[in-house]
């Protein structure tokens, strides 16, 4: 009971009173400021829980090694030959795979009650989610750097040079940010992390494997070619491959930006609609 230290208790109460007496009401910050503040939170979480970087390093290393050596000899005659083709694609796949963790992270926030605290603040409502996705961009960048480094070790020589590689990564980050809204929506609709993971895998597997990441689609049956043609991941891979390879990306960049905008428009809106009253 507080009788144990009555003076200390009084002291504390008066400090609370003076803390409450603060009538300071700073100017409300804008959407960009609050989004970046939430991005800072995501970085702080990486600092305190560095284990969450395991997936962004292990996934790309595993995929790159596995597919380079599994398919390299059969598909392109040599692994060095194949890695020239595969690396931009596997870079895209690695990042897309780890975007789905956004959904489970958000679900944890909802379950722990942090999310409701944020929703109760007088700020631009999407900023908690935008900031989360911005923080994830840091994880995606790490994944991309790991893949690029490993690729260079395996003999990948991008003709687009550092600028081409950087532009390719940038385009990938834009797409990953947009795809993140699919997972935020799922995590507001589905009630458990397991369900979110399950549905995410169902979406991601056809998106990545049903694309031009691993092989040239010209050998595929017609119906699969048709899917690969409309798959936004294919356009992204085409554009990233061209930017990094120093060739003409054609309409790949425009198509990727259009599909990114569409993802944000559709799933961003759905997310914010659910965000008002998530249960």
């Amino acid at each position: 009971m507080s009788v144990a230290a009555p003076t200390a208790q009084k002291h504390e109460t008066s400090k609370i009173l003076s803390a409450l007496a603060s009538t300071e009401r700073p100017e409300p910050p804008g959407p960009i400021s609050t989004s970046f503040t939430f991005g800072w939170r995501a970085l702080l979480k990486i600092k305190h829980v560095p284990e969450q970087l395991v997936d962004v390093t292990i996934f790309p290393i595993m995929f790159t090694l596995l597919f380079t050596f599994l398919f390299g000899g059969a598909l392109a005659g040599s692994t060095v030959e194949y890695v020239q083709f595969l690396l931009p694609g596997i870079l895209v796949q690695g990042v897309i795979m780890i975007t789905m963790y956004t959904g489970t992270t958000l679900r944890t926030d909802i379950e722990k009650g942090v999310f409701d605290r944020f929703r109760s603040l007088p700020i631009w409502r999407p900023s908690a989610l935008v900031g989360m996705l911005l923080g994830d961009a840091a994880r995606f960048t790490i994944s991309a750097l790991v893949t690029i480094t490993l690729g260079l070790i395996l003999g990948w020589r991008p003709q687009g040079g550092p600028v081409g590689v950087a532009l390719g990564v940038l385009l990938l980050l834009v797409f990953a940010f947009s795809l993140g809204w699919v997972w935020t929506f799922l995590s507001l609709v589905l009630r458990t992390s397991n369900a979110i993971m399950g549905v995410s895998m169902l979406v991601i597997t056809p998106l990545t494997f049903g694309s031009n990441i691993f092989v040239d689609p010209s050998t595929m049956p017609g119906w699969l070619q048709a899917f690969v043609e409309v798959n936004p991941v294919s356009h992204l891979v085409t554009a990233v491959r061209a930017l990094m390879g120093g060739t003409d990306p054609g309409n790949g960049i425009v198509l990727t930006l259009v599909s990114s905008a569409a993802l944000v428009a559709v799933f961003g809106s759905l997310t914010m609609w659910r965000y008002r009253d998530p249960r």
């Binding site: 609370i16 009401r25 109760s120």
Partner: protein, 324 residues
């Protein structure tokens, strides 16, 4: 403008086939502590979530500090703050980082947010724990950082959802002191609790909620008075005398005298203390020695029993969210 902190008319929230909140009318004035008392699943938290704009009402209207919670949600959010089972801080971050985060989101500059965070850590006795991750805090520290996070910018109205559930008596007292300090500085507090003594200790006025409805409202004394009268508790020295004592009390008091669980105890509701004095005299004259007697107001537990037909103790453990 209105002087009411909270005003609702026919507020309804439906989860599936459950009417979690079923037509709640409230008129809560500014200032002081208003208690929401009720068992688990009564609809307290769901009501607060709607008032704090976290959830949209399915029916009725609610105004908080004169602003509509649906149409003027931003205005409401600017003026209220909440703490409780559903509005927490980030366990992975340190206490200081959490407070700085909230400070930045309210528009403090970097150094300003740091200064405010330090001031609050100091005030809540968390200065030394400031750089530890919140998940390593004890229950009491955890509750204090939750409350500190709610007053980074002093709110006009603070929702406290079961602020002492699961705390040991010492931490509970600390939280009570904090709540009293906040009320002293002019903040209106809306407190939900399933503890009768907490409502009794802190709340100026209490709304008793059961099955999504407000079933009674008033000061603690008014609620007690509405049940009737005070109550007399008697323990006889020798349990063998209880039957005789009961007969005498029934004759003298003219009311029903209940046998307590304790084989020596008797309870009765009484209207005035004069009949009690006479009854005790008769017991003495009959040679029945009393171990103890007490004349008091009914407890809120008795009030709850009288109002709802069941006690306030949680009968089922499922939370309100599970009803969704």
């Amino acid at each position: 403008m209105t002087d009411l902190a909270i005003e609702t008319h026919g507020l309804v929230k439906v989860f599936g086939s459950t009417r979690a909140v079923d037509g709640v009318d409230l008129a809560i004035p500014r200032g002081g502590v208003h208690g929401f008392l009720g068992p688990n699943g009564a609809g307290k938290t769901t009501t607060i979530r709607m008032l704090a704009t976290l959830s949209t009402p399915d029916g009725g209207t609610a105004r908080v500090l004169g602003r509509d919670v649906v149409r003027e949600a931003d205005e409401v959010r600017r003026r209220v703050s909440l703490t409780g089972q559903f509005a927490s801080v980030d366990e992975d971050l340190t206490g200081r980082e959490n407070l700085r985060l909230i400070g930045r989101l309210f528009g403090y500059t970097g150094p300003g947010a740091t200064r405010r965070a330090n001031e609050l850590l100091e005030a809540f006795g968390l200065a030394e724990a400031g750089d530890r991750q919140v998940k390593k805090y004890s229950g009491g520290m955890r509750r204090r950082i939750d409350i500190a996070a709610s007053i980074v910018v002093t709110p006009e109205l603070l929702f406290l959802d079961e602020p002492t559930t699961g705390l040991d008596p010492r931490s509970r007292n600390e939280v009570w002191d904090i709540i009293r300090a906040m009320v002293g500085s002019g903040t209106t507090v809306l407190l939900t609790t399933q503890y009768l003594d907490e409502a009794d200790q802190l709340a100026d006025r209490i709304s008793v909620i059961d099955s999504g409805k407000v079933i009674a409202e008033g000061t603690s004394s008014e609620l007690k008075a509405s049940v009737g009268s005070g109550s007399l508790h008697v323990r006889v020295m020798d349990p063998a005398d209880r039957a005789a004592a009961q007969q005498i009390l029934v004759r003298e008091l003219g009311v029903e005298v209940r046998e307590g669980v304790d084989p020596a105890a008797l309870d009765a509701s009484v209207d005035s203390s004069t009949v009690v004095t006479r009854a005790l005299g008769s017991l003495d004259a009959a040679g029945i020695t009393l171990a103890q007697f007490a004349l008091g107001q009914p407890t809120l537990d008795e009030v709850f029993l009288a109002l709802t037909g069941h006690t306030a103790e949680p009968e089922q453990s499922e939370t309100e969210e599970d009803a969704a």
